[in-house]
């Protein structure tokens, strides 16, 4: 386990490296922000001077080197809008985003787990049709539109919740519902497919043959098994969830990372953009790592395996997840679990 963790941590480095390179290239290609930073009537000399002081006139590899040097010291440069170092500004916004993401995940879990289990055990019942139908409908709705509809209904018409902003719990309700139900739609279907598969397994029949109450057969014997791919996929979906917060934050004027990023994008505040992208990517990778660890904890079969067997079991899980996703019409998310043996 320890060795595995170290290996996985080491694998993060090249991924971060590629991301940083891609981001740098994009920014490099974007051209310099000098024109935006100075007043419109600035003289060419002023522009040139600023370029030089920012090191923007140096060749690609030199700039890249300076950039990487800053990066390893967690320095993403200075935001010209805020006239401050970018990273602290980004980190300042992080709690708001995490708050929204956590609340949404809670909403999603509270909805999806009972609904997924229920519709799997009562397959083809009216409830199942309702749940699967609802899940498809929710997936078909653009999330931001759902947010707007919720605002129209609950804020404008009924006046129950504030339209936008952050502060009290009532501010959190609508954004968390918007994002949470969106995530729940995917999760419900995944849990359902996973449960359906598990309920056909021999050991479920064994459990029933022991005279165990159906409630425990489902919630103890079946659900734990069904959870393995679901947890893994959910952790891997962080990227989607973060993407979702970006838009939800905009809809509800939620002062989080997403809002900051969209503003930065619109004003071409590249230092902020880079720092945000990096922080988000880092969070996603961290969650993926967490997925691996959780997978290993949930499935005792993994702990004892070595080398190639781990690979094989990971491939099996990966294939299973793909099947589940195809079955439940989800966007394919890969299992990032590193496989170093085959």
């Amino acid at each position: 386990m320890g060795k595995f963790l170290i290996r996985r941590l080491l694998q993060i480095i090249p991924v971060l490296f590629i991301i940083s390179f891609v981001v740098f290239c994009l920014v490099f290609v974007a051209g310099d922000p000098v024109a935006l930073m100075l007043p419109e009537d600035a003289s060419p000399e002023d522009i040139e001077q600023l370029r030089e002081s920012l090191g923007l006139n140096k060749p690609f590899h030199v700039q890249y080197f300076t950039y990487m040097l800053g990066l390893v010291q967690f320095d993403f440069g200075e935001s010209f809008r805020y006239k401050e170092s970018a990273l602290p500004i980004v980190l300042e916004r992080l709690p708001a985003t995490l708050e929204l993401a956590t609340a949404s995940m809670i909403v999603a879990i509270v909805i999806a787990i009972p609904l997924g289990i229920w519709s799997a055990t009562k397959k083809n019942s009216p409830l199942d049709f309702l749940a699967t139908g609802g899940a498809v409908l929710w997936k078909a709705m653009p999330n931001f539109w759902l947010g707007i509809m919720l605002i129209i209904l609950f804020s404008v018409t009924l006046g129950w919740f504030p339209v936008s902003g952050r502060g009290s719990l009532s501010h959190l309700v609508l954004p968390a519902l918007t994002l949470g139900t969106g995530i729940a739609a995917e999760m419900t279907r995944l849990i359902r497919s996973s449960m359906l598969e598990i309920l056909n397994q021999d050991y479920i029949r064994t459990a029933r043959s022991k005279g165990i109450r159906e409630f425990f057969v489902i919630n103890k014997h079946a659900f734990r098994n069904a959870l393995i791919p679901v947890v893994t996929i959910t952790a891997l979906q962080t990227s989607t969830v973060v993407g979702g917060t970006l838009i939800t934050e905009t809809v509800f004027s939620w002062p989080g990372l997403g809002q900051l990023l969209i503003q930065a994008v619109n004003t071409r505040d590249m230092a902020i953009v880079q720092a945000s992208v990096f922080i988000i990517a880092f969070m996603v990778i961290l969650m993926n790592l967490l997925a691996d660890i959780v997978y290993k904890i949930l499935d005792p079969r993994i702990k004892y395996l070595k080398g190639e067997d781990i690979c094989r079991s990971i491939h099996r899980l990966e294939i299973k997840i793909q099947q589940l996703q195809v079955q439940s019409r989800e966007r394919l998310i890969s299992l990032s679990v590193g496989c170093d043996f085959c």
Partner: protein, 262 residues
């Protein structure tokens, strides 16, 4: 689904009004069934007096075009990478899959945002960026399929009699990955339409005066307090379209994938 395509194709004859016609006399008219609605504008008008229904009908063109072409673009890259990575394995596979991992670490929408800011929002850029963000899933899918097919007897047999690699890939592997690919890409058109709408909503997708559903929604967002219909109907149009595509994908899956008998 076909209805949506037909609407897109015959937008001109179906739309009751010119979607760009500004009519100050008819600003923010509600839909026909609401008090104050006008029978001229069934779904009401926007803040510039433009007919919502006509705008939605025209918006379908760009949504479908962007959705389908970016998926096609992504498919070509993804299938190629997946085939190569899966078939050759080893070092190439490792490199390509690390690349895939990196792409997965960045939320699609984030990547699209940064990309669009830098290259400027336009329809071709949008297609390229949506394509780039999408190829990863095909690469994964195809690679997985190839890995399992590669071990089957007929591929081994072909290899053992010295058939060239590219021929094996084209003749034996490609046909076997094509049906899951078609299913996934249909569904992916649906997600792409949503993504495009999101980007246009954020002001980074399709720019006015080109009409897009996300754009209409974005305009409508400023008027949620007074004129709900502006934001409601384009969203419905997206939902219905995406539902139609999902059902098409379902149907394709049932037809193409005999393993999965539902």
């Amino acid at each position: 689904m076909f209805a949506v395509i037909l609407v897109a194709l015959f937008a001109k004859s179906l739309a009751p009004h010119d979607p760009k016609m500004i009519n100050p006399a008819m600003m923010l008219k509600p839909p026909v069934w609401v008090d104050g609605g006008s029978s001229l504008h069934i779904l009401g008008t926007d803040n510039l007096g433009r007919d919502i229904l006509s705008r939605i009908i025209y918006g379908s063109q760009i949504s479908l075009a962007v959705g389908i072409s970016s998926v096609a673009f992504a498919g070509v890259i993804g299938v190629f990478v997946g085939l190569v990575a899966g078939y050759y394995g080893g070092f190439i596979d490792n490199i390509l899959m690390r690349l895939v991992d990196s792409f997965l670490a960045i939320p699609t929408i984030l990547f699209a945002l940064v990309f669009l800011t830098i290259f400027g929002p336009s329809v071709p850029t949008l297609i390229v960026v949506l394509g780039i963000t999408n190829w990863v899933q095909y690469a994964r899918l195809v690679r997985g399929e190839v890995l399992s097919i590669k071990e089957r007897e007929f591929v081994k047999a072909a290899r053992s009699i010295g058939v060239r690699d590219c021929k094996i890939i084209l003749r034996h592997l490609l046909p076997n990955v094509i049906s899951p690919f078609i299913v996934i890409s249909t569904l992916s058109v649906a997600t792409t339409i949503i993504l495009e709408a999101s980007l246009s909503f954020l002001g980074l997708g399709i720019q006015p005066p080109t009409i897009s559903w996300g754009g209409i929604l974005s305009d409508g967002r400023d008027y949620v307090a007074t004129s709900w219909w502006l934001a409601t109907f384009p969203g419905m149009a997206i939902t219905i379209t995406v539902l139609a595509i999902i059902f098409l994908g379902d149907w394709l899956r049932d037809v193409l994938d005999p393993r999965d008998n539902h």
